[in-house]
C-alpha cells in the first residue's frame, strides 16, 4: 500500500483531544484534501477514504515547540535544519520556532530568509525563525524589526545572551509595539550567575561546583515584567525554572500584565541531583533546580500560570559535552522526549491530557500568532497521533537529532508520537499506521 497516494483518511476509535474546542472524547476524525472535514462520535467513511482504527490512541492538534536551537547556519555538526526538523516530526511537532544564536546570529533578513528557505527544502516541520533583539546579540543596537518580520521572523529574542541593559530592553519592548511583535526573554541576571554551572545550594556544596542562585533568574523575570508593564509591550519569558519565578509571574498575570511564560520538560522532570557524577548532560541554563522548584513548576502548569511547554532543544556534540563539567556547554536536546516527559504529568494526575496538549499546541500558536493548533473543521490537517502507552528506550539509534546530549539517554520512556501529519500529509509514520488500512471499509 503506498500511503503517499492517499489524501483522505478516516481515523476511528481515537481519543480526540482538542483544547481549542474543549474536546476530549473517543470518536472519529475525517481528513479530506489536507483539511479536517469532521470530528464526531461515529463518522461513516466516504468513498475513496481509507479508515484506520487507532485503538484508543490520542489524536491531537500538531504540536508546536516555540523554543529550539537548530544550529544552522554555522554549527551544522551539532544539528542542521533538516535533522532538527526530522527530530521535530519524530517528536510529534508540526512546527518549531528557532532561536537566533546561530553563526552568524540571525539578526538580519538575509539569515531569516536562509533559514526559511532551508526549512522549506527540507520539507519536514515548519520553522518559524526568531530573530535577535540586538545586532549580534550584543545587547546594544536593535535589529531591524520591521524588515525581519517581513522576511518571516516570528518574534525577537537574544536568548542565552539576555539583554543586560534595562534601557535597551525597554526600547525593544516599545519599538515592538509598532509591529505588535513579541519579545522573548531568557531572563537571567548575568552578574549574579557568572561562573556558576549548576543550581546554588546543598548539592553544589557537595559537588564543589559554583552555583547559580534562583535569584539570578527571579531578579531578571521581575525586571522584564516591570518593563512590559512600563511599556505595554508583549513579553514571553523562556524556560521558567524556579518557584519564585512562578510566583512573580502569577502576580503579574493577576495584575493584567501582557506576559506569557514557558517551562521545559526537564524542569518538571529532574532536579539538581541529576548533576551528581558531574554528568554534563544535566548541565543547562537555567540549571536544574530543587524538588521544591520542580513541584512549583508543575503547580504553575496546573493552574495555568505557565502557558507553554517548550523544549529548549539545544543540540551539542561530544566535543562540547564529553569534557570537564565547567567547560561543558549548556543545554540538552528535547524534541524527541517532550511527549513522554509531559505524559508523566498526565499519568500521575498533575495535569490533564487537555492541559498538556494546550501547553504544547494551542497556547504557543496563540502566543506566536501562527495558525492555531486546533482540530476545527476546515483547518489544515496538522495532526499528531500519540500512543501514550508505548514504551521505548532512548538510544543513539532511536534519535533523529544529530546530537544525543540528553540526560534520558538509555532510559525507558513511555508515550510517543506514532504519526505526524502536516497539511494532511504523513511526514512521520515509523510503524506504518497508514499502510495497514482497516479491512472492509472505504475502498
Amino acid at each position: 500500500m503506498n500511503s503517499e497516494s492517499i489524501s483522505n483518511y478516516l481515523f476511528t476509535n481515537a481519543r480526540i483531544i482538542d483544547p481549542s474546542q474543549n474536546m476530549d472524547f473517543v470518536g472519529d476524525l475525517l481528513v479530506k484534501d489536507g483539511t479536517i472535514a469532521a470530528a464526531g462520535q461515529s463518522i461513516e467513511a466516504p468513498q475513496d477514504t481509507m479508515a484506520f482504527d487507532l485503538k484508543g490512541k490520542w489524536l491531537v492538534p500538531g504540536l508546536l515547540d516555540m523554543h529550539v536551537h537548530l544550529r544552522e547556519p554555522g554549527e551544522e555538526y551539532k544539528e542542521t535544519i533538516e535533522s532538527g526538523t526530522s527530530a521535530a516530526i519524530a517528536g510529534g511537532f508540526k512546527a518549531v520556532a528557532c532561536m537566533p544564536n546561530t553563526q552568524p546570529v540571525n539578526d538580519s533578513a538575509g539569515i531569516t530568509r536562509f533559514i526559511i528557505e532551508k526549512a522549506r527544502s527540507s520539507d519536514r516541520a515548519k520553522v518559524y525563525p526568531i530573530a535577535a533583539i540586538t545586532l549580534g546579540q550584543r545587547g546594544e543596537q536593535l535589529t531591524e524589526f520591521g524588515d525581519l518580520l517581513n522576511a518571516g521572523a516570528i518574534a525577537f529574542s537574544d536568548d542565552g545572551l539576555p539583554v543586560k541593559n534595562a534601557a535597551v530592553m525597554r526600547q525593544a519592548l516599545e519599538y515592538a509595539l509598532n509591529f505588535d511583535a513579541l519579545i522573548i526573554s531568557h531572563s537571567e541576571e548575568l552578574d549574579l550567575s557568572r561562573g556558576g554551572v549548576m543550581n546554588e545550594g546543598r548539592v553544589s556544596n557537595i559537588l564543589g561546583l559554583k552555583g547559580i542562585p534562583a535569584a539570578a533568574e527571579e531578579i531578571a523575570v521581575f525586571r522584564d515584567i516591570a518593563l512590559a508593564e512600563l511599556t505595554g509591550g508583549r513579553i514571553h519569558i523562556a524556560h521558567l525554572s524556579t518557584k519564585g519565578s512562578v510566583e512573580i509571574v502569577r502576580q503579574a498575570k493577576n495584575r493584567g500584565v501582557r506576559v506569557t511564560v514557558e517551562t521545559a520538560p526537564h524542569y518538571f522532570s529532574l532536579t539538581e541531583k541529576a548533576v551528581f557524577g558531574y554528568n554534563t548532560f544535566s548541565k543547562m541554563s537555567p540549571p536544574l533546580r530543587t524538588e521544591e522548584d520542580r513541584l512549583a513548576i508543575i503547580q504553575g502548569l496546573k493552574d495555568g500560570t505557565i502557558d507553554v511547554i517548550a523544549t529548549d532543544h539545544a543540540p551539542h556534540s561530544v566535543i562540547e559535552k564529553e569534557c570537564e563539567f565547567q567547560t561543558a556547554a549548556n543545554g540538552i536536546i528535547g524534541l524527541e522526549t517532550a511527549i513522554p516527559l509531559s505524559l508523566n504529568l498526565v499519568r500521575d494526575g498533575s495535569i490533564s491530557a487537555s492541559q498538556m496538549i494546550r501547553c504544547m499546541s494551542v497556547s504557543p500558536s496563540k502566543i506566536l500568532e501562527v495558525p492555531e493548533g486546533s482540530l476545527k473543521s476546515g483547518n489544515s490537517a496538522d495532526i499528531c497521533i500519540i500512543d501514550p502507552e508505548a514504551i521505548f528506550t532512548l538510544t543513539l539509534e532511536s534519535l533523529h537529532s544529530l546530537s544525543h546530549n540528553s540526560p534520558f539517554l538509555g532510559k525507558d520512556l513511555q508515550g510517543r508520537a506514532v504519526l505526524t501529519l502536516i497539511e494532511g500529509r504523513p511526514v512521520f509514520d515509523p510503524t506504518g499506521i497508514l499502510s495497514i488500512p482497516k479491512a472492509n471499509q472505504g475502498t
Binding site: N205, L209, G277, Y278, E324
Partner: protein, 308 residues
C-alpha cells in the same frame, strides 16, 4: 589484612570512616621510614606514578613525588605549562595518551571541579585527586586528621574550627567531611561572602558568623589560606581588613581550649589569616602537617598499588 577496596582516591566524600582509619593506620606504619638514614623501601618497585598538575603547586607535588620515591616507584611529572594542553589537546586526549604509556597511578591537580572523576572514565590507572577546583583535596584532609590524631590521640568529640574562605576552599570541604566522618564536631566561620548563603550547615559542619563562636572551646583551629586574588572579587574589601577582623591572632586563640592545635594547609600569608606569633607558637603543628603529608601519600599509593 588489606580491607581497602577503593580504586581511586577522588574525595573524602566517597570514603568511609573505616577506610579513613585504615589509611591513617597505614600511614602510621610507613611514617618511621621517613626517619631512617636510608629513606627508601621497595614495595612499589616497577610501578609508575604520573603527576599531572594543571595548577601551580610546590608542597603537594613535592610531597607526592617524595612519597612515591620513598616507596621506590618511578615518577614522572607533567605540568600544564609544559604539556600539550597548551597546544589545544583536550583533557581526555591527554589522559588517553598518558594511559597508553601504562602508568599505574595518575596523581592529578586541576583548576576545574570533577576532572579527576572524569579521568577515571577514560583510564585504567588508579587516580588520586590532588585538588580539583573548589571541590576536594582529600590527601590534605587525611594528613590533617592524621596530625590531630597524632597529637591528641583521637578525633571523636573534638571541636574543630575552620576559619576563612569555606565555600571556595577544597581544603575546607575535604577537612569538614573527614573530621565529621571521624566523629568530630566541625564549626566553620569567616566573612559571609565566603560562607554558604543562608545555610546553617555545610557538608555536616555548623556555619557561624561570629568567629568567637567557632573558636570557643575548640580543640583544633585550622586557618585557611586567603587567596590574594579573591581581594579584587569584592569577597573581602582588603587583606588589611581581613587580618583585622578575621585573622587568627593570639587574643583569638585564647578563646579556644588551652593547647588547642593550630593548623594551616600552607602556604601562609603571615599577618593576614594568621599572626606570625600564632604560626610559630608552641601549639602550632603546621610543619608536622607537612611531614605527615608524605606519610599519608605513601599510604595512599601503597594501598592503591598493592591490592591483590
Amino acid at each position: 589484612m588489606n580491607c581497602f577496596t577503593a580504586q581511586h582516591i577522588l574525595g573524602i566524600y566517597s570514603l568511609s570512616p573505616d577506610e579513613i582509619t585504615f589509611i591513617l593506620d597505614t600511614a602510621e606504619s610507613l611514617k618511621d621510614i621517613l626517619q631512617r638514614p636510608i629513606k627508601k623501601v621497595p614495595p612499589l618497585r616497577g610501578k609508575t606514578v604520573v603527576h599531572l598538575f594543571f595548577e601551580p603547586s610546590t608542597r603537594t607535588r613535592l610531597s607526592f613525588e617524595l612519597a612515591a620515591k620513598r616507596l621506590s616507584a618511578d615518577t614522572v611529572s607533567i605540568s600544564a605549562n609544559t604539556s600539550s594542553v597548551l597546544k589545544g589537546e583536550t583533557l581526555i586526549d591527554t589522559a588517553r595518551n598518558i594511559e597508553a604509556m601504562r602508568p599505574d597511578v595518575i596523581v592529578m591537580r586541576h583548576p576545574q571541579t570533577g576532572t579527576p572523576h572524569l579521568l577515571t572514565k577514560y583510564v585504567k590507572s588508579a587516580v588520586i585527586n590532588a585538588g580539583d577546583g573548589t571541590n576536594e583535596h582529600p590527601s590534605q584532609a587525611l594528613l590533617d586528621v592524621f596530625t590531630v590524631r597524632q597529637h591528641l590521640g583521637h578525633i571523636d568529640n573534638l571541636k574543630v574550627a575552620i576559619l576563612g574562605d569555606i565555600i571556595h576552599s577544597r581544603v575546607a570541604h575535604s577537612d569538614i567531611m573527614a573530621f565529621t566522618k571521624m566523629g568530630a564536631k566541625v564549626v566553620v566561620s569567616g566573612p559571609a561572602t565566603m560562607l554558604p548563603s543562608r545555610q546553617s550547615e555545610i557538608l555536616g559542619a555548623k556555619v557561624v558568623l561570629k568567629m568567637e563562636d567557632a573558636l570557643e572551646y575548640a580543640d583544633v583551629i585550622i586557618a585557611l589560606r586567603i587567596q590574594k586574588e579573591r581581594q579584587g572579587q569584592s569577597l573581602i574589601p582588603s587583606l588589611r581588613e581581613y587580618s583585622l577582623f578575621f585573622g587568627l591572632t593570639p587574643d583569638k586563640v585564647k578563646l579556644a581550649k588551652t593547647g588547642a592545635l593550630i593548623m594551616h594547609p600552607g602556604p601562609i600569608n603571615r599577618g593576614v589569616e594568621m599572626a606570625p606569633e600564632v604560626a610559630d607558637g608552641p601549639y602550632s603543628v603546621i610543619l608536622d602537617q607537612v611531614t605527615n603529608g608524605v606519610a599519608i601519600r605513601m599510604a595512599l599509593l601503597s594501598l592503591l598499588l598493592t591490592k591483590s
